[in-house]
Every structure is written in C-alpha cells, then in structure tokens.
C-alpha cells in the first residue's frame, strides 16, 4: 500500500500544472449559465486546447485516438484541473465519458473513424437520450420505439434529463426495437443526429431554477441503420459497457471541489465567529474526516482499477452512496455556517445546496444503489 506518486506521475503532474498555469489566464470569461451557444463554444474551446496540448482523451485507449493514460494519471489530471479552476468537461461530458467510450468499445472501424476524432478535438458535442418520463430507476422499461423502414429506423417517443440537448450534434439514444422481447433484450443503441427533422427540445426547469436539462420529443425521426452501434436488440449490453468504463475516477473532481468548499467554509466560520460553536465546529471536523476518507477511497478504487486493468464495477455504488450523503451534509452544514443568510440565493452555497438535492437521485437513486450493493456485492437474494 503506497500513496506516494512515482517519478513519472510526479513529472506528469508538474508538466500539467505548468501548462495549466500558462493557459488558464488566457481563457475567455465563462459565459452565463443561460447562454447555451456560449457555453458550448467555451467548453469545446477548452477541449480543443486540451487536444492541442495532448491531453484530450487522456483515459481513452490509444487505438481510439486517446492517450492510454493510467487511471492514476487520469486521477492526477482531474485533480489538478479542478484545483486550478479549469473549465469543467461540460458540453463534452457525454462524448468523452459515455458515447465516445461506447463507440470505442463496440463501434465498427468506420463508426470509430467518423465519431471519435471530432469528440477529442471538441468539434462535435453529444447528448444522452436514455431516461424517459416513465423509465427512471427502471431504465430498461424505456418505451421510445424504433421501427425499421428501409435503411432507417423511425423513432418516436420522448426522453428526459438530457443535458446540452439545445447545442448537441449527436444524441446517444436508447430505443425499443423488440417490443415483444423481455425488457432488457429489446433495446438498441443509436447515434441520432440532433438536426434530424422531428426532434423538439424543451428546456426542463429544475428546482434550482436553472434549465440544465431538457426534454427531447421525437416524432418519427429517421435515424440511419448505419448509426446503430452493436446489434439490434443488444443495446442494453452495449450501454452497460459504457456505464462501467469509469475506472474509479468518476468523482475525483467533485471530491476535490468538496474539500475546497470545506476549507472555505472553515474560513468563513472563523471569520464570522461561528467556529466558536463546538456543535458546528465538530460537524465541520467530522466532514473534513469524511471527505478525507472519500479522497482515499478514490485513490483506492483507482489503484484497484490500475492493477486489474479493468473496471471497478460495483465499487462505484459504494462510493456514490457515501459521497452523495456526505455532500448533502456538507451543504446542510454550510447553511448552518450561514445562518439566515442561507436563505439568500446570492450565497454560492445556497445554490449548490439546491443542486445537491439531486445527488441521491440522479444516476441511480440511493435506494437503487443499495439494491445493487446488497445483491451484486453482498449476494443477497432478490425479492419475490
């Protein structure tokens, strides 16, 4: 068990840090949250800089155009960019972390050549069309249907919780092609061009007041059969390959961000005198311990992934359960530090507190995660 970084890793970090110090001051100001074209341009511009500097697709395999970096290097990359305040992955998220890896793993040579380079260069943006209003936790119950018509699938239905739908070029879409088959066996993965006729995007306002997500309505949208990745009705398996791709690094940036938030909270509490309240101070101390442990758990999972060369799999559920709970606690504690000022949206932590309400819901509710942990890790039986 060793937490020191190798000479090579330290060099990687030093080079990256130097590059970030040089390039970040040159970046344009961040656009406003409602300026979607501006956000796209900002995010893809950053991706292009990463590409030019050789950091694009760091964790992608070499034969997909990536850098084939180790999980530890990827961890260092995410840690350093977050610390330096670099732009988030933003509009490139689905392309870099879901659709791209799926195509890399399951696509044909032609599909890889068509879709992967533009993602790495920041030329094309992807969004995700998985969830539906009636298929949330039970994702496999999705009902958006695709009917074969010549060289096209004709797709009708609706998707929800789609980020960046307004500005995306492509959508990784799950559709039902085998309505009579068991629900996991009738699903197909398609790459849908977002400029196809029949697509309507409607912004979805969240309780935080923002429109980070959209609903996407599909009315007889034609998607070429050539855009199918994997076999017809094999989309569930294809998707699962993507979902387990992350190698333990999924929350690196967020844990780093939480630790920085905690430090700022401590400074604020000291400045306001709230630090003198032992009840609050001890809560902050406990959170410091918890986030420290979560950082160590990240390193543990990354090391496991590095050693096995494979995917950490269900360990992600354990991490997400602990992390989402701790992060909600963090913002509740921030509210205690702020007192009545926690009611003001002008406090950054108040807005963050609102966003944090989704952490125990999005990407698998805590209830679903506990089922996964109990059944897949602990081997407890499924209920009747």
């Amino acid at each position: 068990m060793d937490l020191t970084y190798t000479e090579e890793e330290r060099e990687f970090r030093a080079r990256l840090r130097a590059w970030l110090a040089k390039v970040l001051p040159e970046l344009p100001a961040r656009p406003s949250p409602d300026d979607w074209p501006g956000r796209r341009a900002h995010d893809t511009g950053w991706q292009r800089r990463l590409y030019d500097a050789g950091y694009a697709g760091l964790h992608w395999p070499l034969d997909a155009g990536g850098r084939g970096a180790t999980p530890t290097q990827h961890l260092i990359f995410l840690e350093e960019t977050e610390r330096a305040g670099a732009p988030y992955v933003g509009a490139n998220f689905v392309g870099l972390l879901h659709a791209g890896p799926t195509i890399a793993a399951e696509g044909t040579a032609a599909q890889r050549a068509r879709w992967l380079p533009p993602v790495l260069r920041g030329d094309e943006v992807w969004c995700q069309g998985f969830s539906e209003p009636d298929a949330g936790s039970d994702l496999a119950a999705l009902r958006t249907r695709a009917v074969r018509d010549g060289d096209d699938y004709v797709v009708t239905g609706s998707k929800i919780w789609t980020s960046h739908a307004e500005v995306a070029d492509w959508c990784e879409l799950l559709v039902r092609t085998g309505p009579a088959a068991p629900k996991h066996r009738g699903i197909t993965w398609l790459a849908m061009p977002m400029d196809a006729p029949g697509i309507t995007v409607r912004p979805l306002r969240t309780l935080a007041g923002s429109t980070e997500f959209a609903e996407v309505f599909l009315d007889e949208v034609r998607v070429p059969v050539a855009n199918r990745v994997g076999d017809e009705n094999d989309g569930w398996r294809v998707t699962m390959v993507t979902l387990s791709f992350e190698r333990g690094t999924a929350f690196v940036g967020e844990v780093v961000a939480c630790r920085r938030t905690l430090a700022r909270l401590a400074r604020a509490a000291r400045a306001s005198g709230r630090w003198d309240d032992p009840v609050l101070r001890r809560k902050l101390g406990r959170l410091y311990g918890e986030f420290g442990a979560l950082w160590r758990l990240t390193q543990w999972n990354v090391s496991e992934s590095q050693r096995s060369g494979g995917v950490p799999g269900t360990g992600g559920s354990v991490f997400k359960l602990a992390y989402s709970h701790a992060r909600q606690e963090l913002y509740d504690t921030a509210a205690e530090v702020l007192g009545a000022d926690s009611l003001s949206l002008e406090e950054e932590w108040t807005a963050d507190r609102l966003s944090s309400l989704s952490y125990t819901i999005a990407a698998g509710t805590s209830q679903i995660q506990r089922n996964i942990v109990a059944e897949r890790i602990l081997g407890l039986p499924k209920g009747r």
Binding site: M1, D2, L3, T4, Y5, T6, E9, T72, R259, L262, A263, R264, A266, R267, R270, W275, P278, R281, R282, K283, L284, G285, R286, Y288, G289, E290, G292, A293, L294, R296, L297, Q299, W300, V302, S303, E304, Q306, R307, V318, L321, A322, Q367, Q369, R370, N371, V373, A374, E375, I377, L378, G379, L380, P381, K382, G383, R384
Partner: protein, 336 residues
C-alpha cells in the same frame, strides 16, 4: 501510487487470518466467554512467536521490521476474530517492556476515556502497564464486555501515554474495522438463511439496505485506516531521513506532515469506531430476537466496539482534532 496491498501484505493478512481461525475460532471464543478467561497466556506467546507484537520492531532489535501498513492489516484480522487481551498496548510496548515483543509479557495501558484512566483493562492479567513503573492497585469493576475485564485504579495515578496515542488509536481503529467487516458478514449470512414470510429476510429491501449501509461504512472506514497507516509510515520514514541540522523550512514541513498524520489518524479512529458500533447494532437488528441472545456473537462485537471507542481517542477528541486540522489547512497549509 498503488494504494492496494502488495502480495506480501495480502499473504501476511491471509496468514494471520488462518492462524486465528485455527487458534481462536468460534469455539475458543465462546469457551473464553463462558470461562471468563480473557487472556490465554499460551496463545499470547504464540502470537508473540508469530511476530504479532514485534511486527514493527526493527529486525536489528529482534523484530519483524515491518511497518504500520502491515500492522493495521494484522490488527484488522484480530478485530475480526474478536481476539481479546491488551493487543494494542502489548504491541506498542514491544522493545520497551521486556517480554512484550515475544508475548511472554502482557502489557496494558491507561487508554480509556478522554484523558486515560482511572479505568484500566486487563489489570489483573497484566505484567506491566505501558509507561508506568509498576502495576497500580485497583478494584475490579463489572465490565460490559465479558472479555475486557476492568479495574478502577485506586493509586499510583495514570501513566503518560501521549507518545503512544496516535499509533494506539490507529491500531485500535484497525481492530474496529475488522469487527465491522465481521458483523457485516454475520448479518449477510443470517439474512440469506433466515426465512420469514416465505423468503429469506435478505430478500426484503429493509434488510438489504441495512446491509448495504454496513458495507459502505466499513469500506470507508477501512480505507481511512489504511491511508492513515501509509501516511504515518511515510512521515516516520521522512523523519528518519531528515538529519539533525535541517533548516526552518524543513521543520515547518515536518510539523505540517505531523499535523496531517494526526488528522488522518483522528479520521480513521472516528470512522472506524462508528462503523464498528453501528454495524454491530445493524447486525443485531438483522438478527432480530436471535441477536438479543447471549448465544449470538453479535453482542460481543458491540460491547468490544464500545470499549474500543473509548480507547486512545474518543469521538469528541477526534472531531476536535479534525476541526483543528481543517482550520490549519484552510488558513495556511493545504491538505493533499
């Protein structure tokens, strides 16, 4: 960086597990409980021979020459097996108290409560008290844990154990993690076997989710314990390298590193105490009425976890230590 255990470390852990399974299995545990014999001198010597106490003593001094990372793996196994006796104190005494390293002496310590003492465990069984000149007089006290006899010391006064506090807390946290993992296993096994309403109770979400919560707690605590051990070991090694005439920057860096280690150990103890106590409680809940019987092992884990939570560093102390470290890093230094 490779935070996963090495093959040697995994082999060491497996070896200790095997030794304890053979030498202190369930029958031995229950015999000790029924017989009220907390320290088995013969087993103590066997542990000594296996290097349990001399694990971190340099080879030059007759020890095994390993470090804290190996020690926490070994203590985790002892916690899993519910091995009784002043394991941590005797381990800490190796090299300082004659016979401790070899397991021919039983050494206890004033490690209970916020400042240590006047309650002390295993006084009647001990040959020495860590950091004290002799064995103090004491009155026996009925202990909640049948395998942790207690005395209230009536003279002599507590010894100063501050030099041992961090390692003591860390190794105790490792014992807690072992217990937390063990009660999880017991709960999962029972949940898979016990049937009610026509199915194993483990098929009910309420039971499933209790077990999932236990795993999360145990995994987070375990990682914290391992990380603290690795960090403390690295700081020790750095201390060893730094020669006498180091400059002010070097001293400041060393002080920062020491503070960081203290924080990691406080977190490890806090999270491990909580994991052990809460997992034992949830294990008991999963067992239902059976968990409330003397015959089930779960109460032994709970009672021992309560004892260990009072040893070396309490939750209140750990939270305050972590707050101090947060304040330090927030206003000056930075956490790694």
């Amino acid at each position: 960086m490779d935070f996963q255990p090495t093959r040697d470390q995994r082999d060491l852990r497996a070896g200790v597990r095997e030794l304890l399974a053979g030498r202190y299995g369930r029958d031995a545990l229950r015999a000790a409980v029924d017989g009220g014999s907390a320290v088995d001198r013969e087993l103590w010597r066997e542990l000594g021979a296996a290097g349990f106490f001399a694990l971190r003593l340099p080879e030059a001094e007759g020890g095994v020459g390993l470090g804290l990372p190996e020690a926490v793996l070994v203590f985790e196994e002892a916690g899993r097996a519910l091995l009784p006796g002043p394991l941590v104190a005797t381990h800490l005494a190796a090299g300082a108290v004659p016979g401790a390293a070899a397991g021919t002496a039983v050494v206890t310590a004033f490690d209970l409560g916020e400042r240590g003492g006047p309650l002390v465990s295993y006084l009647a069984e001990a040959d020495a008290v860590l950091g004290a000149a002799g064995l103090p007089p004491g009155e026996p006290v009925r202990s909640a844990d049948p395998l942790t006899p207690l005395h209230r010391v009536t003279g002599g006064g507590p010894a100063d154990v501050s030099a041992y506090r961090e390692a003591g807390a860390l190794l105790t946290a490792a014992l807690q993690v072992g217990s937390a993992l063990r009660t999880l296993e017991l709960a999962v096994r029972y949940a898979g076997e016990r049937e009610q309403f026509g199915q194993p109770i483990g098929a009910f979400q309420a039971v499933k989710h209790l077990c999932a919560g236990m795993l999360v707690r145990a995994e987070v605590a375990r990682t914290a314990v391992y990380a603290a051990a690795v960090t403390a070991q690295a700081a020790d090694a750095a201390d060893g390298q730094a020669a006498d005439g180091q400059d002010a920057d070097g001293e400041a860096a060393e002080a920062a590193e020491a503070a960081e280690v203290a924080g990691e150990i406080a977190a490890a103890k806090l999270l491990a105490d909580e994991a052990a106590v809460r997992n034992a409680r949830d294990c008991l809940q999963v067992h239902g009425g059976m968990g409330f019987t003397w015959e089930a092992d779960v109460h032994l884990h709970l009672k021992r976890a309560w004892v260990r939570a009072e040893q070396w560093v309490t939750a209140a102390e750990a939270e305050e230590a972590l707050a101090a470290e947060l304040s330090r890093t927030a206003t000056g230094g930075e956490a790694r």
